[in-house]
């Protein structure tokens, strides 16, 4: 424990790394990539729902960091800056898909079918393993409007503070808080199976 804490204390901060990168240190960029690639992938994947697209968007995010390194100012945390870039790219991808969907009736039908994962006839507790549960939650997240989806992902999946989310999305703190609350209430409506009490579900089977 003490060694971990000591390591964290001695660890070069993101802001120090981006400063080094701005001065031409490419190794600093590599360290930042290693630090953020997985967490960004999880954020973007939950946002767009497709792993390959998510990985492309994360690559694009780092390319933008690389190209626009001089636009970063130390007034903001590096994490909020990089999440802003990734979030904007993810939203652009969703808008592009929406436009495509307008021209493709077959896609529309398929996606509607994809959402019907919860099986009402069987006992969800017995049926749903952790992978299935993950998939159902993911589908429910995808159904959320983007403005709720982004705050839920940043708060409940990525663990950012309300203040950080406010900076990432450039929206007022009060708006972030109310969107998180409304997003959670919307999400729980689509996830009935998560909340069934043990006694209730057994009675239904009998």
């Amino acid at each position: 424990m003490t060694t971990n804490r000591a390591r964290k204390k001695n660890r070069v901060t993101d802001e120090q790394l981006i400063a080094k990168f701005q001065q031409g240190d490419l190794q600093a960029f590599d360290i930042l990539v290693r630090r953020y690639k997985d967490q960004l992938l999880n954020f973007v994947f939950r946002f767009v729902g497709n792993r390959n697209d998510a990985e492309d968007i994360v690559q694009e995010t780092f390319l933008r960091v690389y190209k626009n390194k001089h636009y970063y100012r130390e007034i903001a945390k590096f994490s909020t800056w990089v999440y802003t870039i990734a979030g904007n790219l993810a939203k652009t991808e969703l808008r592009r898909r929406k436009r495509r969907k307008l021209f493709s009736i077959s896609n529309f039908v398929n996606e509607e079918r994809d959402y019907d994962i919860p099986d009402q006839e069987r006992n969800p507790e017995q049926q749903v393993d952790s992978v299935m549960k993950d998939g159902i939650i993911q589908k429910a997240i995808e159904k959320l409007p983007p403005k709720f989806k982004e705050v839920i992902l940043l708060r409940d999946v990525q663990g950012f503070s309300y203040e950080e989310i406010s900076q990432i999305l450039s929206i007022p703190l009060g708006t972030v808080k109310s969107r998180v609350n409304r997003g959670r209430l919307k999400l729980q409506e689509d996830l009935e199976f998560l909340f069934e009490k043990k006694g209730e579900s057994r009675e239904e089977i009998k």
Partner: protein
């Protein structure tokens, strides 16, 4: 606003322990009598736990290698930033070409209307009065013999007549200049004498 709606707005703050003591007492008092709101609180707690426990993905093993390749391409100028979305790079040039084509077509349509109105008289002037004049069948000699009417002179159309008129104008002008010059010169000569 009913108490239920008020409490629903405070669900997340209550779950995260962010309520002021007075508000917390109000919420808990309501929860003790409202099973619906109590259930909402329970669900949001479970939801938050479930979201935190979602499986964690890792990037593919060649992620960094691919990224470096793209950075090399970018530095060499052989690749734009939006490589992954390259399939859509045709859109901007296509829109540009389409705009140019529309402008050209509009320009041609607009001008063809003008050409049609000018064609019968073969008149280089764009004035509608002139066009009307040129459409009339006026014999050239009459026009040429009427130097006092500038409108008819303009509508003559014949190159020979134009040159004749220019000549006559020039001669008049030359003479006039000469005449004026002579008149000017005479008093000067006289004065010099």
């Amino acid at each position: 606003m009913t108490d239920c709606n008020k409490v629903k707005e405070l669900v997340s703050k209550y779950v995260e322990g962010e309520l002021f003591p007075e508000t917390k007492i109000f919420v808990e008092k309501h929860l003790s009598i409202c099973p619906g709101c109590k259930e909402a609180i329970r669900r949001v707690k479970i939801l938050c736990q479930s979201l935190k426990g979602l499986s964690y993905l890792n990037t593919s093993p060649d992620f960094e290698e691919r990224l470096h390749q793209r950075l090399v391409n970018f530095n060499n100028g052989t690749s734009s930033l939006r490589v992954s979305f390259g399939e859509h790079r045709w859109k901007m040039p296509a829109i540009g070409v389409a705009t140019v084509l529309v402008v050209i077509v509009l320009f041609m349509v607009f001008n063809s209307g003008n050409f049609q109105s000018e064609e019968p008289g073969n008149n280089p002037q764009n004035s509608p009065i002139v066009t009307q004049q040129s459409s009339r069948t006026i014999p050239p000699p009459q026009i040429g013999s009427n130097p006092t009417n500038p409108l008819l002179n303009q509508s003559s159309g014949g190159a020979i007549q134009d040159s004749l008129q220019e000549k006559s104008k020039k001669s008049i002008n030359d003479e006039g200049v000469k005449f004026i010059d002579e008149r000017k010169e005479t008093p000067l000569n006289e004065s010099s004498k």
